[in-house]
Amino acid sequence: MTNIKVALAGQPNCGKSTIFNMVSGIDQHIANYPGVTVDKKTGNFKYDNHKIEMVDLPGTYSFSSYSLEERVAKDFIISENPDVIVNVIDASNIKRNLYLTFQLLEIGMPVVVVLNMMDVAQRRGIEINSEKISQMLGCRVIEASGAKGIGSQEIMQAIVDTAAETEVYEDFKINYEELEPHIAVIEDKIKDTISPLNKRWMAIKVLEGDATIIKYLKKEYFDIEELSKIQEDKFHSLYDKDTVSFLATFRYDSADIIYHKAIVEKKKGIETITDKADKIILNRWLALPILFAIMFLIYELAIVGGYKLTDYTWPILASIKNFVIDISPAPYLTDVPMITDFAIWMINSANALVNYVPIFFILFVLIAIMEDVGYMPRMAFILDKIFKKFGLHGQSTLPLVLGGAMVGGCAVPGVMATKGIADDRARMATILTVPYMNCLAKVPFYTLLLGAFFKPDMAIMMFFISTATIFIALIIAKLLTSTFLRTRETAPFVMELPPYHLPTIKGVLLSAAQRVWIYIYKVLTIVLAVAIVLFAMLQYPGISDESKIKYDTQLTKALDTFEKKAKKSKYYEEVDTKDEIADLLNYYSGYKSKRMVASGKDGAKAVDAKYKVINPNYFKFIKPRKDKDARTINKTLRKLSKVRNRILRNIKNEKVENSLLGMAGKSIEPITKYAGFDWKINVAFLSSFAARESAVATLGSLYENNQVDSQRAEDAMAQNSGYTPLHAVAIIIFMLLTPPCIATMIVVKMQTNSYGWMIFATFFPVFLGVVISGLVFTLGTSYGWSGVEAMTYFYLSIASLAVVLGLWPSKTINWKGGIKIPKKTDGLYKNYEKNLMKGENQND
């Protein structure tokens, strides 16, 4: 058994991943290339007594070192030294694909060429003589179709055969004619290198100014760069050509030779399906409506549909929670074991996040389909002009929509979808603005506040809330790209619009499953870790001894009353010890909570039957029917239960108030009071870090009215908090700007590959939130604005700020130096000057 290491290379949109999926099956491992956020997929499979490890290199148009993907791919080739390079080529776009093939062949490692999408080529009337190409390139050429599952065996056979023939391999060489003497000079210079890499290839790369290879060789030849510069200048003075464009032209010419000798296009000039489809999809008048329709559809299917799906998955999660409660130690009167509290807290935190898995799965499936179909770059094409003005990119559309540009989304898939944005500055700006979109879990919070303070104006307020975020995001994007992100690398907008393709089911499901797995594995583990910390911060130091005594007395009093009443019943003996009462109370509250979630008459009956079996004696106290003595117990039991619940709630609230988190909430009150926040709101915000849902739960429990059990949280808040609608507006504005939840912070860390940016993404919104809500609240108080007025002013100011920033010139000069050129009015000359500066800008 031999091991063969294979690197899979190819240009973007050549169907590389379908070939990868077809050959390596589902035994795939995803990691990142060291130090960067580029996915590294590795597949392991066996063929004919050979163990093959295939690494999927990032898709690149070329093999220089100008983009991150190219650097990553080259680093892999240099450091891992694969046995065979498999080069996937789009058979229907062969000329440009061969440009990369020539560069791969020059590396000096054996190459297998896979002509993918042969079916598409055939349909388009492109006849390819693969045997001829094979002879001309001196390597095996396999015809395949990843989408149709054709060619898997042949590819594996070719890999194995090629790996076995490394001894008879002869270096591939392009005769670069007038450049040859210069290549020879460099090659001679490095002839004694210890590097196992092909010397001629390295020499060519040095002349191309390839940063990775120059750095690699500099360890041995410190003056290699200068030497190369001398050769480049010589070449330039002799032929008036620079090496880079000379090499590119030469390679394209070589590709052209193969194209003319081995390929016949029978339907040249006839419109393809893609051409026809683009006439509609990219039509000046139809493009935007179609785009909005697609966005709306995604939103409907994933967010709305997925939310409905959670109606079915939630009972499963609830039953897991009930199971955990059942196996945890039961509370004894008002004494709840900490382990039980902890178990419930953890399962709640986990459930809140797992609940979103159905939504995510649908979202990821839809994204994978759009990626495979080829709509993504077209979306960028349509909207680029708008986003460009704010320092973003056409490709920012999808992340922002997923993040919740339409009332509710989730920043996690939004941030994850930023991966494909080519322009680094725009990508960073998108990552940092997606968390400002309205997350789904914020919606119940808004509903609570609007229900409590804005009943008549709910619609307009909801409109403000859901559309304000997009203005905020644009403003922040503009702000960041012209300050903190100003010096980040930008990429020219040179984007292929690939032909439309039908996606494969396997590819779509694999990609969706892999992304969901990342969410579960990476996000959930960290959220649970943070949940433990938050739990501890809410538990310690606990309630004071005096309070303990106070609550004990209250309990004893209640128990006495219970005893007095119960004595009148003939069943008194069944409940005359403390243990029995504690048992009965747990039985009663357990029954009540199960009855609440049971649906319909049948459900209720099932719960009844179940509790009858658990304890037939106690059941009569819960459902006394005509039994008068049992009814006596029932009545007093209900009262006791109510008192116990009140004590439990008071203990909990006091615990929160005394806890570390409560103290933190109080300690920032001096700052937050300008926004009208008291410590309760602060605690709710702090606890919402783990998962946004808990903000509503915390607020709800803090404002619960202890006397009336049936009061809704909205009403309780309106009556008991002492807040005005202006307070509510300040809270809403803060929530709009509020920091991402931990899950989002983790994906921000993953995508920016930096803790610094993660911390920035957390605290910058907090800072903004406190300042702006403080401003609105303070102004509102001094001018006596109503809540709706304050919100309207806030909305109008951010909307107009966004418009003004959008009209502002988007490109600023961020380079200096060069030749001082006197200003002239001549148009031609001005153009020259502009280009010169542009060139220098792109050089660094």
Binding site: A248, L288, M495, L497, N831, K838, E840, N841
Partner: protein
């Protein structure tokens, strides 16, 4: 006749030959990699709905460029 025609102002549906790239560094590399080598034929397919960027056809595939970048490509008939 030698004129200084730039790709960004060229007519839809017309084919041109690339005469010269007035770029340096990263943008030039990218354009060369995508096949914008001197002598290649390029066709203007359409503008985006908001008039920028534009779609081109070169070496029988489609590509989009912002007009600010297309302005740096000199073409001839």
């Amino acid at each position: 006749m030698k004129s200084n025609q730039r790709l960004d102002t060229m007519k839809k549906g017309q084919k041109y030959k690339i005469a010269k790239l007035h770029t340096k560094g990263k943008l030039m590399h990218k354009l060369l990699d995508m096949g914008f080598v001197v002598g290649s034929e390029v066709e203007v397919v359409r503008e985006a709905p908001l008039y920028d960027p534009m779609e081109l056809k070169i070496h029988n595939y489609s590509i989009s460029l912002r007009k600010s970048e297309a302005n740096l490509i000199e073409v001839e008939k």
